[in-house]
């Protein structure tokens, strides 16, 4: 079911099995038949670690979505609420429980908080008079969820806002706990590097937690050589730019949620002769995207401009394979051919899907507006005209393009200019407020607080120094056969990944000056290992670095890291962890102010 998790250098199925086991243990604690009431947000992440079959084995007979008023009827002994620790959900649960009590047979209620129990929530339940109704109130520390063979995410939507806007460290605490879990499974990570305020905090928490759990020595041979903790606010630029890898563009355009994407159904309608035009599906086509699919694993991280040729090559190979049937003469040959059929059909289905997706994306990337937007982004990132009002942005506002698109561009300009001139900033602000509504003042303040949109301080623009030192802009990009990570943005090399690359070779000492310009401290910690566990690397053996993005990571950055992992002489393979998989739009949206 999740074989793809074990393809990578580190077998993440071990983690998946561990969290599955804990889930079983909890379910068995509530003896008898069960119904689960789901906080809808959790079904996506849970889907990555368990299927209904697992729950059913443990007597889960019904499942509902958490909704107000009374629970649907279910003839079960236990009702279990699976919820995030959020106050508004507590109110709904209380409503459910209270309306339940008035009817017939008594049942056992339980709550499973994911990923943490919350005293605040329990207080709320107490205030609502239902706390006593619950037999088990427990937590399920689903901190890091394995998404792919080299990718883990906490899928914590609010993490960036909480850390950088509210100064609430709860999600950092969860990150640290997740890292402790990983170390319990994969051994102590001997070296920790970090850059940024939150990175520092997480490292401190880890060191502290380690001290507290000294009851035992971790005797597992370490799988990871290094941990690199990176604050998202060290690199605010990258998520703002439009991702140009295949997976990145799918995410930009359709949004990938828990490795699923919903696509317009028209292109996927089964074409059978005779009934064309009839019952066109109206429901979005949902596809799972991960490396379990051979073709997707091959093309996901390519620049979109390199995808077409791969697809057409695959098409030829598959056509040729099917043609083989004419050559099959003997029974043995036919048998041989037939035995390959299932695999060929799977490949054909996969090719059909990705050809359709590529067509959908092509329609957008070839549009005039996409090109104009990209041109502006690339101008900003290469340092051109970042200090005056941009015509294209002005036009976007005048034509009332989506606000998130406008904010993303304005923020990009601001970041590429170390803040905007006061006059330019005021101009944009006024245009935005007059066109989209004054209430967005609150959102603009949030963006300012996060450092995304701000006035330039002291009239100094540091971005050119950073750009040149870290070679963030590369003039000669090879999209088909890339030689540098900058291919993922067709010219711009993501700052965060460049930092990782430079850390592995030649080391951060070479870029001290730039590190000082970027926000937050940089540091290195060692976690001593007993001599028996110290690794002796074979010549030519790559190091494994776990890189943790605090505040989110984009698919393009992941692609860039995979590119580095695959380099012949790269010397380092990466496993990526994050608080949330993001793109510019979802990121900005999380910072927007909405009614309570």
């Amino acid at each position: 079911m999740a074989a793809h998790l074990s393809y990578g250098r580190v077998n993440l199925n071990v983690l998946r099995e561990a969290v599955r086991r804990e889930l079983r243990e909890f379910l068995d604690k509530c003896a008898g038949s069960k119904a689960i009431v789901w906080d809808e947000y959790l079904t996506g992440p849970f889907g990555l670690i368990a299927q209904y079959s697992l729950l059913k084995e443990h007597e889960v007979e019904k499942m509902f979505t958490l909704k107000g008023s009374r629970l649907p009827a279910a003839d079960v002994k236990n009702i279990i609420f699976f919820v995030r620790p959020r106050l508004e959900l507590m109110d709904i649960i209380a409503e459910n429980v209270l309306s339940e009590d008035r009817r017939g047979p008594a049942r056992d209620f339980h709550i499973l908080f994911v990923p943490r129990r919350s005293l605040l929530c329990e207080q709320r339940l107490k205030d609502l008079g239902v706390l006593g109704s619950f037999i088990h109130r427990e937590e399920y520390s689903l901190d890091l969820i394995p998404f792919d063979g080299d990718l883990l995410s906490m899928e914590s939507e609010g993490a960036f806002k909480e850390c950088y806007l509210e100064g609430d460290q709860t999600s950092l605490y969860h990150a640290a706990k997740g890292l402790m879990t990983l170390q319990a499974l994969y051994g102590t990570i001997p070296q920790i590097f970090g850059k940024g305020e939150c990175a520092r905090q997480v490292a401190n928490m880890m060191i502290r937690m380690k001290r507290e759990f000294t009851g035992s020595q971790n005797s597992i041979f370490p799988v990871f050589d290094n941990l690199l903790l990176l604050d998202r606010n060290v690199d605010l630029l990258t998520p703002l730019a439009t991702q140009l890898t295949y997976e990145g563009l799918i995410d930009e355009i359709y949004g990938i949620q828990n490795s699923y994407v919903k696509l317009p159904p028209e292109k996927f309608a089964p074409k059978k002769q005779g009934d064309s035009g009839k019952d066109l599906p109206t429901e979005a086509k949902k596809l799972q995207l991960n490396s379990a699919e051979e073709l997707y694993a091959e093309i996901r991280d390519k620049n979109f401009n390199a995808v077409g040729s791969v697809l057409s090559k695959k098409a030829k190979i598959i056509s040729a394979a099917f043609e083989e049937r004419h050559n099959a003469k003997t029974v043995g040959e036919i048998k041989q051919f037939v035995s390959q059929l299932p695999h060929m059909q799977a490949a054909r289905g996969s090719l059909a899907n990705h050809t359709s997706i590529a067509e959908l994306i092509k329609d957008i990337t070839t549009s005039e507006d996409f090109f104009d937007k990209l041109t502006v982004e690339q101008e900003f990132m290469s340092g051109i005209d970042t200090d005056k009002v941009n015509n294209y942005i002005e036009d976007c506002i005048a034509q009332k393009h989506p606000l998130i698109k406008v904010l993303r561009l304005v923020c990009l300009q601001s970041v590429c200019n170390s803040g905007l001139k006061q006059k330019v900033l005021d101009y944009y602000k006024r245009e935005i407020l007059q066109t989209y509504g004054y209430e967005h003042i609150l959102t603009l303040h949030n963006l300012e607080k996060a450092g995304l949109l701000k006035p330039q301080m002291g009239g100094r623009n540091n971005y050119p120094t950073i750009r040149k030192t870290l070679r963030l802009w590369m003039d000669d990009v090879n999209e088909q056969n890339p030689t540098d990570i900058s291919y993922v943005y067709s010219g711009y090399a993501p700052l965060s990944v460049r930092l990782a690359q430079l850390l592995s070779r030649p080391g951060w000492r070479s870029i001290e000056e730039v590190l000082r310009i970027l926000p937050g401290p940089h540091f290195e910690e060692r976690q001593p290992l007993p001599t028996g566990l110290q690794k002796k690397r074979q010549p030519g053996e790559n190091r494994v670095t776990l890189i943790f993005f605090l505040g989110g990571v984009t698919f393009a950055e992941i692609a860039a890291l995979r590119f580095l992992s695959q380099l012949e002489d790269g010397g380092t393979e990466y496993v990526i962890a994050t608080t949330k998989l993001i793109n510019g739009a979802s990121w900005i949206e999380a910072l927007m102010e909405k009614p309570f």
């Binding site: 299927q51 005293l119 605040l120 000294t214 035992s216 030829k316 050809t355 003039d475 010219g491």
Partner: protein, 493 residues
């Protein structure tokens, strides 16, 4: 950045801005087409049933047996939805999943935190909750047994915090002195566990006077930030404002107060609330915006009442012909201006709903105003108004066409509102830059303009090329032929 003209040209011609190349577009596209063709041809060959070896997936893509799928499925039995039934048809029976291999791993997450590494001896999460033997692995190792009991009354602040972290309920009421309470808080903060910090803050909030709580938190920034977040979350607006006032964080105070308007639905109440925001210590820029926000809503309320009345009376032509789609309340300024240009264009400046009045009151820049008015009048196909919008008279009485937004934008907006070719043509002709003009004319099929421009440019080749784009035997074709034959023109190519 100092760029010379040369640089600029180099910049436009250099490859980097075409990095995301579309020049091989046809090639790319044909590649896609090719694979599409291949895929389609294969469909005919293999019978089109589901790929049996693949994971079964319902149409919406939920793998059969996945959690989100099963919610619909199992909930469906009690109030079955159409969707549920649909999916029922093509699902596998659950029995096929019943014999999943039992997991081989014996790891349990929670047990790791209790310091166990030997497989086989793991206990479950319950260890953390009951004071079972697993406790002996906990850091408190070596303390007298009694200390672990729930009814014990003399835990130190650090023990208490540790217990809270494990999710055990324990009473904080014993901590009576301020010093104890603060130590408790500091202990919680040093653990970084937001959950525990909040729990302690709830306790402090309940047992300390506001002044003391604020004073102590002022020197404890981490705890202070947690309190602010917590107050926002539970919506204790009053205490939050008091806190900002105490801390002298005036702008945050103002913004936080202003934020409340988002939750007020009734327009009158919302307006009155916004009034209370005016004069709060915003930055100078924001102050002006807040004032405008209030004024705008005030206006909208008046306009809305008036127009609703007019519309229902059915006497006014514009409302009869173009019924309003939505109320104007709470719409942004530019939308309001559009609305007023649409329904109240000719009104005298003195009325609240006249566009000129809005322009003056909110100091709407010319550009913005013209754009909006143009869009509104073009939508109504009021070409006279459009014409007037760009006509200026000089003191001698000569008229001249001017557009603060550039005529290329005018053309685009007109085209979007499907203006007739004659109108479009007129404005395309006013575009100054010849290349832009030619592009627009070609794009919007203003044949006359294209032909005339080619003639003026003496560009025979382009004219020849264009000939193939006009209809055979049309007046345009004749005109092109006439020009091509003309001996008056000295073609440049």
């Amino acid at each position: 950045m100092n760029r010379t003209k040369g640089d600029e040209e180099e910049y436009w011609n250099s490859s980097k801005f075409k990095a995301f190349t579309f020049d091989d577009e046809d090639d790319e596209l044909s590649q896609l087409k090719e694979s599409k063709r291949a895929v389609n041809s294969l469909r005919d060959f293999v019978d089109d049933d589901d790929d049996d070896d693949l994971e079964r997936v319902s149409w919406s893509g939920e793998p059969v047996g996945s959690i989100s799928w099963s919610i619909k499925e199992t909930a469906g039995n009690s109030g079955s939805t159409h969707e549920g039934r649909e999916q029922l048809k093509n699902r596998n029976s659950f029995s096929s999943y019943a014999q999943l291999p039992k997991p081989t791993s014996t790891y349990s997450l929670s047990s790791f935190f209790k310091g166990r590494t030997r497989p086989g001896s793991f206990q479950s999460l319950s260890d953390a909750l009951s004071d079972a033997p697993a406790k002996s692995y906990a850091p408190e190792l070596g303390r007298p047994k009694g200390e672990y009991r729930d009814y014990s009354n003399d835990w130190s602040p650090s023990d208490t915090v540790r217990r809270l972290r494990k999710g055990k309920v324990c009473s904080l009421e014993r901590f009576r002195s301020l010093q104890d309470k603060l130590q408790l808080l500091e202990e919680a903060v040093s653990m970084h566990d937001g959950n525990v910090i909040t729990a302690v803050l709830i306790f402090l909030k309940r047992t300390l006077s506001k002044e003391i709580l604020f004073r102590e938190l002022e020197v404890r920034q981490v705890a202070l930030r947690h309190l602010i977040h917590f107050l926002k979350e539970i919506g204790d607006q009053k205490l939050l404002l008091d806190l900002f006032r105490f801390l002298d964080r005036t702008e945050e105070l103002a913004l936080s107060h202003y934020r409340e308007h988002l939750n007020i639905q009734d327009p009158e109440t919302r307006k009155e609330f916004l009034k209370t925001c005016i004069g709060l210590p915003f930055s100078a820029e924001d102050s002006a915006h807040i004032q405008d926000h209030y004024t705008l809503l005030e206006r909208q309320i008046i306009i809305e009442a008036n127009d609703r009345h007019l519309e229902s009376a059915g006497q006014t032509e514009i409302f009869r012909k173009h019924p309003r789609k939505a109320s104007i309340l709470n719409m942004p300024l530019v939308t309001t201006l559009f609305y007023s240009c649409f329904y109240h264009y000719t009104e005298a400046e003195g009325t609240f709903s006249s566009p000129i009045n809005l322009k003056k009151t909110f100091k709407i820049p010319d550009k913005q105003y013209v754009l909006t008015a143009l869009a509104a009048r073009a939508k109504l196909r009021a070409w006279h108004d459009v014409d007037a919008l760009f006509t200026t008279k000089n003191w001698l009485g000569y008229t001249k066409k001017r557009a603060p937004i550039g005529f290329h934008r005018v053309v685009e907006i007109l085209h979007k509102n499907s203006a007739p070719v004659q109108i479009l043509q007129e404005y395309v002709n006013l575009v100054e830059d010849v290349d832009t003009k030619l592009n627009l004319a070609t794009k919007f099929k203003c044949h006359e303009v294209v032909i005339d421009t080619c003639r003026d440019l003496k560009d025979r080749q382009q004219l020849l090329a264009y000939r193939s784009k006009v209809e055979k035997g049309s007046a345009e074709e004749e005109k092109i032929d006439a020009i091509l034959c003309s001996s008056q023109i000295r073609w440049k190519n």
